[in-house]
């Protein structure tokens, strides 16, 4: 098999090199019409090209390459927080001296994972790393479980997201359930969010699941958000009763009809303190003991990401002190509450892509005192979801009375502007500048230049913003 595989690996690598060359802007001028080549160049698509080609040449390539990993693979899937959870886990695991093969660029479908494996593959059936650490798109998880035969699977959360692409939540949960029940799925150690009723239900089926969750009533919200999903018992259909709601539909719940209740998490966070968009602190409790953690990442959502990473590390028998060090050393991934300086102005980039994620960003932003200058960028490309309805499920009302100036940009800029108006932001504080370059200049120059600018882009808008900043020399190209 590996003798057959070697030439295909070489060919796919060569294709990757060619595509990188073509993506280089020095070559772009030579190729006026890139469409002609029909290559997914630029816009973040280039990362997965060699992998896609490899899988096309050999459908078993992912299986063959993943089988070379001595400690198997750990998969991380969730609607929100996949990239950050994987970054936290990588920081911990590498600190423990375990070599990783990790799709850190965030290309999380089959092509991206195949590309990552291809990069790590060495001659004579070897691979540069012991453990695969892969964030996996929700829609691809069930197809990748049989191919990667993972040693661990981390399930973070399921929220409504891009209904035009992913379909209904129940359908995704059912697909995950079937994949976990398959031969390959049963062999994996499951790490599961106890606070998400849909996921906890998947983790209960007589397996040795490591549950994680929050234990801190002081964080509890007044009730379920209007956009909360999974309000009804997956087993019997009765509405859950929530004793505490921490985020969306995540919390401490029980079903009054069939008695199904939240499993007790063995890895949990208590005494959570949130410091606006800057950081979060909590007391991490594990079967190996408790320790204080100071995350350089903000918000309840990142406490969940850290718990998921810690729980995965526990299954790998990594010592608690190493876990704490690894979590604390992780800084924000691009666009996930990262701070950059643009023309001398501090700018914080906070990715928003679905109601649950946006609500956490807005809630975290609302913790910062005073009036805010915003740059909102709403795109409707495939990776964002063509359906932009979700902005009406996000609680922009949290910013009413808190906006000094909001510049709205992107392919659906006026619809974001309208959302802010109906959320209670005064009309005269809202400006529509569809072109991103113009919008960024307007936003940077406007408002109060001594205060930070908060950029809230959707996924492809974040990539466009990144490209724009790299081109201007405001940001390092290592982001690419």
């Amino acid at each position: 098999m590996s003798r057959m595989l070697a030439p295909k690996l070489a060919l796919a690598r060569a294709a990757g090199t060619v595509s990188r060359l073509l993506a280089d802007r020095r070559f772009r001028g030579l190729l006026a019409d890139r469409q002609f080549l029909r290559l997914p160049i630029g816009g973040g698509g280039g990362t997965s090209l060699p992998g896609k080609l490899l899988v096309r040449m050999d459908q078993g390539a992912i299986s063959s390459l993943a089988a070379r990993l001595a400690r198997g693979s750990a998969l991380i899937s969730a609607t929100n927080g996949k990239t950050t959870t994987a970054a936290l886990a990588a920081s911990v695991i590498e600190r423990a001296g375990i070599g990783l093969v990790h799709n850190q660029a965030g290309a999380n479908m089959a092509g991206g994972i195949a590309s990552t494996l291809l990069d790590a593959a060495r001659s004579h059936g070897r691979i540069a790393g012991e453990l695969g650490l892969f964030e996996v798109d929700e829609f691809w998880l069930d197809r990748l479980i049989p191919q990667l035969a993972p040693s661990a699977i981390v399930l973070g959360n399921l929220f409504r997201d891009q209904l035009d692409r992913y379909g209904e939540l129940d359908a995704i949960a059912d697909r995950w359930g079937a994949a976990l029940g398959s031969e390959a799925g049963k062999r994996a150690r499951l790490v599961c969010n106890a606070d998400d009723p849909l996921l906890a239900d998947l983790g209960r089926d007589g397996r040795d699941t490591v549950f994680f969750g929050i234990e801190d009533d002081s964080l509890s919200l007044p009730g379920l958000s209007h956009a909360a999903d999974a309000k009804h018992c997956r087993r019997c259909g009765a509405p859950y009763e929530f004793e505490a709601v921490y985020l969306g539909h995540l919390g401490r719940y029980r079903c009054p009809a069939c008695g199904q209740r939240r499993p007790s998490p063995t890895v949990h966070a208590g005494e959570v303190e949130l410091e606006g968009v800057r950081r979060a602190r909590f007391l991490l409790t594990t079967p190996e003991g408790s320790a204080r953690v100071q995350l350089a990442l903000p918000g309840v959502y990142n406490v969940y990401n850290a718990l998921a990473a810690a729980a995965l590390a526990i299954t790998l028998e990594i010592p608690l002190a190493t876990i704490v060090d690894g979590l604390q050393a992780t800084s924000a991934a691009f666009g996930r509450a990262e701070t950059v300086s643009i023309a001398g102005r501090e700018t914080r980039i906070l990715l928003i892509k679905n109601p649950a994620g946006a609500n956490e960003v807005l809630r975290t932003l609302a913790l910062e005192p005073g009036q805010h200058d915003l740059l909102g960028v709403l795109n409707d490309r495939t990776a964002d979801g063509h359906d932009v309805s979700w902005i009406w499920d996000a609680d922009f009302e949290l910013l009413a009375g808190r906006v000094r100036r909001a510049v709205c940009s992107g392919t659906r800029a006026p619809e974001l502007a309208l959302r802010l108006k109906y959320a209670g932001v005064q009309r005269e504080r809202i400006e529509v500048v569809e072109d991103l370059t113009g919008a960024l200049d307007t936003a940077i120059a406007g408002g109060d230049s001594h205060e930070p600018l908060y950029a809230l882009p959707t996924y492809t808008a974040m990539l466009a913003l990144r490209e724009l900043l790299v081109r201007r020399g405001e940001a390092s190209s290592s982001w690419q």
Binding site: R160, L163, D387, W392, Y422
Partner: protein, 253 residues
């Protein structure tokens, strides 16, 4: 002083906790703000599973979209607790607006995975979940309203995402003609259905923020006044948003 001062729009949202999947809350928010900005009173209440519905007490009944499982629960509940009240509301000319799953439930039946859900029967339309891809994408439709305040045909823009195909009975009036997108069944060229002030459509996005003119027509109709009697608002952003949604569907304004 606008004539609206004497009015209050009383809205009842059906199953707001379940039938809300496509940001249906946006539709309710637009109704609320556009009333409040004009000095028209606004009252919103909800009626969910197991709760009775007052067929006389509201001017506007709204039902949005939901997941299959929730839609089944609502179909049973509509039949048991709300059927008569909705018919009473329709008889006295209240607006009943169903979007997506809500539209399907206002029809006569919905055949889903071998089961037949009984609809409210306010619209002469039946829906069948058929094999084949869901009908998904930006959509624009053209509709004619018999209202002197609305001049000529007007366009609604939105997004559709439905597995069910809806077939209108010969007696039914579609809401509009498809300019771009799939519409009721992907073939007939029609979208939605209308019987008096009962309206069903697959357009979400949500519908009313993208089509403020239609929100106003619904408000006026529910209050029993002409749309020309509503005080004008500064709708510059609303019009930009409408153009943006039309552009996404490929129908330039």
């Amino acid at each position: 002083m606008s004539p609206g001062h004497n009015h209050t729009l009383r809205v009842c949202a059906l199953y707001p906790d379940l039938m809300n999947i496509y940001a249906d809350r946006g539709n309710l928010l637009v109704l609320e703000r556009r009333c409040v900005w004009r000095g028209i009173g606004f009252e919103l209440c909800g009626s969910s599973l197991g709760e009775e519905l007052d067929g006389a007490g509201h001017d506007f009944y709204y039902i949005g979209g939901g997941q299959d499982r929730d839609q089944r629960l609502c179909a049973e509940d509509l039949h048991e607790h709300k059927h008569e009240a909705l018919h009473e509301a329709a008889r006295r000319g209240a607006v009943v607006l169903g979007v997506c799953g809500g539209y399907q439930l206002l029809g006569t039946s919905y055949v889903l995975d071998g089961d037949t859900l009984t609809g409210v029967g306010l619209l002469p339309a039946r829906t069948v979940r058929e094999p084949g891809a869901r009908l998904i994408g930006n959509v624009a439709i053209d509709l004619a309203l018999d209202d002197p305040g609305v001049d000529g045909p007007r366009v609604l823009a939105g997004f559709e995402n439905h597995g069910g195909r809806t077939y209108l009975e010969p007696s039914a009036t579609p809401l509009g003609r498809v300019l771009k997108g799939h519409g009721n069944d992907g073939r007939s060229g029609y979208e939605g259905a209308r019987a008096g002030n009962v309206i069903g459509t697959y357009l979400h996005g949500p519908l009313l923020p993208k089509n403020a003119w239609f929100a106003d027509w619904l408000i006026a109709t529910a209050l029993g006044i002409g749309v020309g009697e509503l005080a004008p608002l500064d709708d510059e952003l609303e019009q930009q948003a409408h153009r943006s949604a039309r552009r996404a569907a490929g129908i330039a304004a």
